[in-house]
Amino acid sequence: METLCFESVENLSQMLAEKAISSVELTEMFIGRIKNIDPKVQAFLYLDEERSLRLARASDERRAKGQTLSPIDGIAVGMKDLIAEEGQTLTCGSKILEHYISPYDATVTQRLLGKGAVLLGRLNLDEFAMGSSTETSAYQKTHNPWNLEYVPGGSSGGSAAAVCSGEVPLSLGSDTGGSIRQPAACCGIAGLKPTYGLVSRYGLSALASSLDQIGPFARNVADLSMLLEIIAGHDERDSTSCNVTIPPYRALLKNTQQPRRIGVPREYFSEGIDGEVRQAVFEAIEFFRAQGHRIVDISLPHTPYAIPVYYVVMTAEASSNLARYDGIRYSHRSREATDAMDIYFKSRAEGFGSEVKRRIMLGTYVLSSDHHDAYYVRAQKVRTRIREDFMKAFREADVILAPTAPTTAFKFGEKLNDPLKMYMSDVCTVSTNLAGLPALSIPCGFSKAKMPIGLQFIGKDFHEHEILSIAYQFEKAHDFIHQFPPIN
């Protein structure tokens, strides 16, 4: 039965439609798989068996009456523990929200439930999504299913590892500087960060509001497209949500592929990029050339400033967003505190981990009156330059191709105590968050150590269909989606 755990959603959906299997049987299979291997992977913070089976039973009942809601009706989905589901935990990977229960659903949660998804449980992450390895979670370390001695990437490491290991076929994560694409690359699966404003952020605990986007994980591009189609779309409850028409992403994949201009930014192949990663991406470029696409050498000259700009903008916004965890209305309240001010200082000291404290302090510094213009305003201006670079590049290219991460997954502890080293994990991904552009990662090879390598496609604003269809073309011609991690 566990043989189905790596099946595509497309096939599972077909099997459900043909009544070869029921949603209850399928859900029980995934629960069994989680019980079997999650003690090793540790992707799930919380598994809600009872609710999952209730949702699965409801799906089977709908199907029996011919009232199936969508292709994911009856299919299991996992959620990063940063996205609200009514009645479920919302720890954000932090001790400060250890006992917090969501009073409402995020918009994406409502959309999934409205399409009949079976929500399985809550997935591990770096504390408040601050990290690139999932090691800063206050609860547990998630392991890379390809090799348990390695990190799964982050911050959506639980969402990536769960899909990679066949615990769940689909999951949602969030991406502020690479937190979907980098773990997707580290785990050898597909992950997409939508254009800023495509997916509602209502019910997503904010890290940096001008950068955050919720996005899907799947084991192949067709499933990824299907999940994106469900979560995308305008929402009045998010004032940065855009009112755009959502194309039928999955149907568009199978359109005949017109030759495209594929931009290759030379700054993404600097000496900081591992040789094996570079080689695999070069081979992908040659593939596209052989398919008749035009490869264009482009330049994004402000790329070297993306990490410093990101660490000013993101920490500034985070320091402001995380001020809400004050121990008064909700979140941990210190037992040692004697007055209101004491509640703030001690609750936050006890509730937040080191990385969160570090970023709140850096953000507070760059926003403080003496440094505001020199760091914050200046970073916002360089951010304008970074977006201008992309706008210029898109006059010569339809999509941009680059590595997703500078290296394959690294070992536990390798970068944890050196913040700057950890921050460089996002060197290939942060620019697109700063510019607001859509980008996705799919596997394009393996290192000698048998760790997956990610290939990144960056598109124009709201051109997800374009990056999905070109990624689909690569995926179809290769065998990476049929390679599974050695975990049982």
Binding site: I101, Y196, P308, Y311, I328, I343, T364, K381, T384
Partner: protein
């Protein structure tokens, strides 16, 4: 050359985070390193470009000013660390 150091106590006070002596030391060093790294932004020619607040061209998106049904009191309070008589309990702040 004298290097400017971050005033860690001032910043921690602004953040409302109590630090241990150990944390004061580690964070001071780490933040000094990180700020020195951020200083490379000072070398970028930004000319007269506008600061970017967010990526999209959206302005003043507001919903209609109409009342909506919100949480019942018990739901709104369900995560309050201390409560009494349907209110959040806090230490006395006015003598």
């Amino acid at each position: 050359m004298t290097k400017e150091h971050i005033d860690i106590d001032h910043i921690a006070a602004l953040c409302r985070i109590a630090l241990t002596d150990e944390e004061r030391k580690t964070f001071s060093q780490q933040l000094d390193t990180m700020i020195a790294y951020l200083d490379q932004l000072k070398t970028v020619d930004i000319g007269d470009c506008e600061p970017m607040v967010q990526a999209l061209d959206l302005h003043n998106v507001l919903r209609a000013d109409e009342g909506e049904v919100s949480f019942p009191v018990e739901v709104a309070l369900m995560n309050a660390p201390e409560k009494k008589n349907n209110q959040i309990l806090v230490p006395r702040i006015v003598e």
